[in-house]
């Protein structure tokens, strides 16, 4: 197991009037190569949780293990941990500060103590991975579009060559094309580079498509932990938590209530399409799958 949280609790402003229990006895294991989505309403504790994963916040009680070692043990190298577990904050473009793109991306590896050539190599590789072409290297990051800035900021984290990449709402404020682009790149990093991904999102449609495992955080606890399909079948409970399921989930349930035998676990448009076509053809052929099969399913 790559990251393990054992009975982790965190309290903001402990022993003051503003005391808030942000995390309550969290137990969580994350394996190498996973693609995890995290959802939860604002204030549910999800941001607090992810900041524990690279040691930005020290738990009030409980243990956090990375690769089997307790990260809060005396002498543990937290700086090194943060190069293994990269965290891309919300609106990471606000953290760009250098005079040109390539220097900005080189900042991380430089702090890691690599030579200038190595830093440059890392930076170029990272920029390539996020689809920023060479003619942008010498441009000021402040002259880029919103989506480009965000990709440069992601490259800054990738240049550290992390094993785990945590992204806090990486698509907030982007248009649909920009959203698809960023998510596509994250998927590429997961599939081709084998990076473990933890994606915090408010878009149920996005986590349904990309995440293999979905965590729902509510009141500082893990309310659900399962595949998106499993989790979204609890859509009524999710609503109580201020969340929702993808629109498709609602469509499928409504169709089912109306007597169409569709797959209730479908969460993407493609799954829904197949399931509805199948159900319609079965209905037409008198409720059995024999006789004509399904003329609409290609």
């Amino acid at each position: 197991m790559l990251i393990e949280l054992k009975d982790v609790s965190y309290t903001y402003g402990k022993d003051t009037v503003y005391e808030v229990n942000a995390l309550n006895h969290i137990n969580l294991g994350i394996d190498e190569g996973e693609f995890i989505g995290i959802i939860g309403h604002t204030g549910s504790g999800k941001s607090t949780l992810i900041q524990h994963l690279n040691g930005l916040i020290k738990p009030t009680s409980g243990q956090i293990l990375f690769d089997g070692s307790d990260i809060w043990e005396d002498g543990y190298n937290l700086r090194e941990l943060r190069t293994h577990v990269g965290l891309v904050f919300q609106y990471p473009e606000n953290q760009l500060f250098e005079t040109d793109v390539i220097t900005d991306v080189m900042f991380g590896p430089k702090n890691k103590g690599l030579s200038k050539d190595q830093c440059e190599e890392r930076a170029k590789e990272a920029l390539k991975q996020v689809g920023i072409p060479e003619n942008f290297y010498k441009v000021s990051p402040f002259d880029l579009s919103g989506g480009q800035k965000r990709r440069v900021a992601m490259a800054g984290v990738l240049a550290m060559d992390p094993q785990v990449l945590i992204l806090d709402e990486p698509t907030a404020g982007l248009d649909p094309a920009g959203r698809d682009e960023i998510l596509g790149q994250i998927k590429y990093l997961h599939d081709k580079r084998g990076i473990t991904i933890i994606l915090v999102s408010h878009s149920m449609e996005d986590v349904a498509v990309y995440a293999k495992r979905l965590l729902v955080i509510n009141d500082g606890r893990i309310a659900f932990d399962g595949s998106p399909k499993q989790v979204f079948t609890h859509y009524r409970e999710l609503e109580q938590m201020g969340l929702a399921a993808p629109q498709v989930t609602y469509i499928m349930h409504r169709l089912h209530e109306k007597g169409l035998t569709v797959d209730l676990t479908a969460t993407t448009v493609e799954e829904a399409r197949r399931s509805i076509l199948l159900a319609l053809s079965m209905k037409k052929s008198g409720g059995t799958e024999e006789g004509g099969g399904s003329p609409w399913v290609k």
Binding site: H41, T42, G43, S140, S145, G146, G147, A172, G173, L174, D175, P176, A177, G178, H202, M204, E205, G242, L243, A244, P246, Q247, V248, Y250, I251, R254, L255, K258, G259, L260, V269, A272, R273, I276, L277, L280, P295, W296, V297, K298
Partner: protein, 280 residues
């Protein structure tokens, strides 16, 4: 004549480069015509950089046209002495709630606008009460804004505009930074202001689900209006929307794909109810 009327509106700006002497002229808006009737709910779509925010900023004279004209309730926004009048008539709500709240207490923030308009103190209090009630935030009047949720902050921002007694509210991606709950809160609040108070609403958004309730939709691309019509008409042109870098609501996309697979469905399905009705 509509309440917001742009005719041949163009906006250019000059961009200076470090390395070259010659500044570059960029046409952000290229001759846009539109006319919004009082009380309408208009949604504006377009990918990042399509010019929709630039256009929106013309409605309350944060920008004035470099070509053509913009009239708000009969007032030409290019006339500098009319600036206050224009800003009172058309209020604006931005994406980031933290960037537009200036008061240390909610009621103070809402009172800031009318105070600047020179409204009598007594009347300011009435307006603050009234505006907070309309967005459902009256119970939070003596709270500190920084302890509110994102959706609550946006509703305070909307109340601050409402307290100016505007004819029209322009919202530039007001829900982009909110969770689903906050998004719902803000949208319900905006719809209510439109329906009950008759305030004209211009909503810029990337969330297609929010567009469904609009009277009319405008799609922008490269500084021009490329599509306009009712949500139903716009959303039945799925391929065209995709061409402009936009998506449609999942239910519309699903309906479109089912139709392409040979299922007999009407065009431009917008809601779950419509799809369920058509299929069962």
């Amino acid at each position: 004549m509509g309440i917001i009327r742009a005719s041949k509106l163009g906006f250019d700006y000059i961009k200076y480069h470090d390395d070259s002497e010659d500044p570059e002229k960029i046409n952000a808006i290229k001759g846009v015509d539109f006319d919004v009737e009082k009380g309408q709910f208009i949604a504006v779509l377009g990918h990042n950089g399509s010019g929709k925010s630039t256009l929106a900023k013309h409605i309350n004279a944060l920008l004035v046209p470099t070509r053509g004209t913009m009239y708000v309730d009969g007032v030409n926004t290019s006339e500098e002495e009319e600036l206050w009048k224009v800003r009172q008539k058309a209020g604006m709500v931005f994406q980031n709630p933290d960037n537009q709240i200036i008061g240390t207490v909610v009621e103070e923030d809402v009172g800031f606008g009318p105070e600047n308009l020179g409204v009598e103190t007594e009347d300011i209090w009435h307006r603050v009460d009234d505006a907070l009630a309309k967005v459902g935030m009256l119970g939070f009047r003596d709270r500190s804004p920084n302890r509110l949720s994102g959706g609550q902050k946006q509703r305070v921002a909307i109340a601050s505009v409402v307290a100016m007694h505007p004819e029209c509210i322009v919202l530039d991606e007001p829900t982009a930074m909110l969770d689903p709950n906050g998004r719902r809160e803000v949208l319900e609040c905006v719809r209510e202001l439109n329906q009950k108070e008759g305030i004209t609403v211009i909503l810029i958004t990337h969330y297609m689900e929010e567009v469904v309730f609009a009277d009319n939709v405008i799609v922008m691309d490269r500084g021009q209006i490329v599509m306009r019509g009712t949500p139903r008409a716009i959303f039945s042109r799925v391929d065209e929307l995709k061409h402009y870098g936009l998506a449609v609501p999942q239910v519309t996309e699903l309906a479109c794909e089912l139709k392409q697979s040979g299922v007999d469905l009407p065009d431009g399905i917008l809601t779950i109810d419509e799809l369920v009705e058509a299929l069962c």
